[in-house]
Symmetry: C2
């Protein structure tokens, strides 16, 4: 029962969508509209300019993440990434494993640092995971996230170098 992580292919997307949709419809972690469509999500998550990965457990896709440059041109040495774990597979360190994997991948791809632009402050599991993986809070954004249950809440900018 080992978690394996590999690059995604287009035919993985229906299963990725199940995870994506189950996460974003909650409106508590990502800025994507909770009503985002399959096609819009696919255009974003499987974009040719983005590196897309899946985590599998017994050949089942249980998590997914993407890496991309956080800015074009003169900011393109800093990576940005997003991660989603299947709600039925929480507590199996899949987020942690994808996090570790993404740091190695980002380094391999030539990025010098990784930055998360909007880690929702009430998402304590995420904040704690990224701290464990060496990220620091470098910014606090007041009321920038419109949480579906809590209304406007703060978010953090988190950053780490990839040396």
């Amino acid at each position: 029962m080992e978690v394996l992580i590999r690059q995604a292919t287009e035919k993985d997307f229906p299963k990725i969508w199940e995870i994506f949709h189950s996460i974003v419809k909650e409106g508590d972690t990502y800025t994507f509209s909770p009503d985002i469509s399959f096609e819009e999500a696919k255009k974003y998550w499987m974009n040719p300019a983005v590196f897309t990965y899946v985590a599998t457990l017994n050949d089942e896709i249980v998590g997914t993440y993407i890496i991309k440059p956080n800015h074009p041109g003169l900011g393109s040495h800093v990576a940005n990434a997003s991660y989603m774990v299947h709600p039925g597979h929480q507590g199996k360190k899949i987020g942690y494993k994808m996090g570790l994997h993404s740091l190695e991948e980002a380094k391999r791809l030539g990025f010098k640092a990784m930055q998360f632009n909007i880690v929702v402050a009430t998402n304590e599991k995420a904040v704690s995971l990224w701290k464990k993986l060496g990220f620091e809070i470098v910014g606090k954004l007041p009321k920038v996230f419109n949480h579906k249950k809590l209304g406007l809440v703060d978010a953090f900018v988190m950053h780490r170098f990839l040396e």
Copy 2:
């Protein structure tokens, strides 16, 4: 000799491009590649999802700015904006006037706050202008900007509410 600010139309773009290109080729303020093409710049600056403005002086376009949501969906109540002043028209408070105008426009468009994601720390004129217009530094990003002359330098995240 009054600076007038209005929404841009497509036929303004050749003149906007003169300003855009003269700014980004310096590689000291914006993450756009200094080699960005006319078409790429137009696709970004005149995007239908973006509100584009020009500042004129004696019917000549001397500045331009854009407003857009900083994030989709649950982050779309926060505006993001970018500003460029013609290098031949510095010192005429055109940046300040566009800044003020953009705050009013963003409010009118229903945004609740404005956030700049990457204000280059060595661009002291910009940092000082945004402070004067009520922005606070809410984040400090280490070495996220690849300055054409200075190499990797820090940048700030700046934010203000629009009440």
